[in-house]
Symmetry: C2
Subunit: 256 residues, 2 copies
């Protein structure tokens, strides 16, 4: 797709040794990807980094300079290995004081649940100066937004609640629509004519994805564009190419 | 963990618009993470990048300079959006000719399956000059290794077969062992004393992971070290701390 200057973009940073060791399997990348696609935001890069201050700072500074929005997940809990707030404050060169509003939110919840206030828990009220809070309806400890960087929890159910809280504050560009065309022939059969059609439609991004199953060769072609008319035109020509390829191969088109 | 100079490290690059759009949910990060942990390789960073030549080249060059090994997944099929080989060749400044051995592997398979040889399929035989092939027992199209960069397929079943083929060629450092301690109290209760123990054992990395369920507050503490004796010593002291915290909170330790 020719990069339209007006596209809204995003980068994501997944923070946590547990993802890199394999102990925890990430599901937040997929959730943020779906969220961005729904809002018409192009998620363009994701980095998974370890719980090391320098690594997080480097990733935050690289991605916030490059994309409209940055989303981070993980590292905002009460323990010593939760250092995302420290890293983001350092990246922006601001202090990290206890935030009165965050503290009030947490203390209200702790009062309800009879939870002791201690130094470790109060770490969760440390918010970079100048940041806005992101409400956490699940466990009260807030995320925050500073500049274009949105800092969220790593626990998936909390992360998704924070995304929902964020949605009204984000502005996507024109939504990208997609059309999927299923094929019962291999990618190699379609690759040549598909490349020609891609050249003809630079504003419609064409992807080809092999589907592996025991006995069948299947391919899904996915066409994506923010221009509905061009997308429909491209899809018509791709479908004609696909039909011809199936006829030549002597196989039937798969059921849609 | 104090970074031991002799640790073997790895970076991973996941290549594909389908991951960034949310259409496909990545499972290769977790598989590569498990693989590295088993071999005593510290996976230190992952980047997910789009099917754009410049993005892939940048990621390859950044990570190959920084880590012992780099693993890439995705973008080595027969269609126009499969540009990983082009990007890696460009990153290393080498040509990308049809490789005779790769072509022979593919043609042998195509002969068996009665598959037509065409220009699109022959894209899969393009291998950067100076690279070694990585055998693909599933669908024949090989991956390749050039320098410290290992280029694999994105289809998970093929990617895992390639990892298995690679394993004997990789050299891990001393394996990191881990001990998990389950707790029935929240992270905030453990955070203070855990931070003190982390200071005492800089060579044992201590992670704290909240487990959210409907009615229970659970925390898993994970201790990791390549020094078994220090790991055991740290675990003993963390267990004593955990027992004291449960007694103070008046809750029983969870069943292991």
């Amino acid at each position: 797709m020719t990069q339209n200057e007006t596209r809204v973009t995003a980068g994501m940073i997944v923070i946590g040794d547990e993802i890199l060791s394999g102990r925890t399997k990430d599901v937040n990348i997929g959730a943020v990807a779906d969220f961005c696609t729904d809002l018409g935001i192009d998620l363009t890069e994701v980095r998974v980094v370890s719980d090391e201050l320098d690594h997080i700072i480097e990733a935050v500074n690289a991605l916030r300079a490059r994309y409209t929005y940055v989303f981070t997940t993980g590292g905002i809990g009460p323990t010593h290995d939760d250092i995302t707030a420290d890293a983001v404050a350092a990246a922006f060169g601001v202090a990290l004081p206890i935030n009165a509003q965050a503290r009030a939110m947490l203390e209200a919840r702790w009062k309800q649940t009879g939870t002791e206030v201690n130094e470790a828990r109060l770490r969760m009220a440390r918010i970079p100066e100048g940041a806005d809070l992101i409400v956490n309806s699940v466990s009260a400890a807030p995320g925050f937004r500073i500049g274009n960087v949105h800092v969220m929890a790593g626990v998936p159910v909390i992360m998704r609640a924070m995304l929902e809280a964020l949605a009204p504050t984000l502005k996507g560009s024109k939504k990208v629509s997609s059309i999927t065309i299923k094929c019962a022939v291999g990618e190699g059969t379609l690759g040549g004519p598909l490349a020609e059609l891609q050249e003809k439609f630079p504003d419609v991004k064409m992807g080809s994805y092999p589907q592996m199953s025991r006995d069948e060769v299947m391919t899904e072609l996915v066409l994506r564009s923010s221009d509905e008319a061009r997308l429909a035109e491209a899809a018509e020509q791709v479908r004609a190419m696909v039909i011809a390829a199936h006829e030549k191969a002597g196989v039937s088109l798969p059921q849609e």
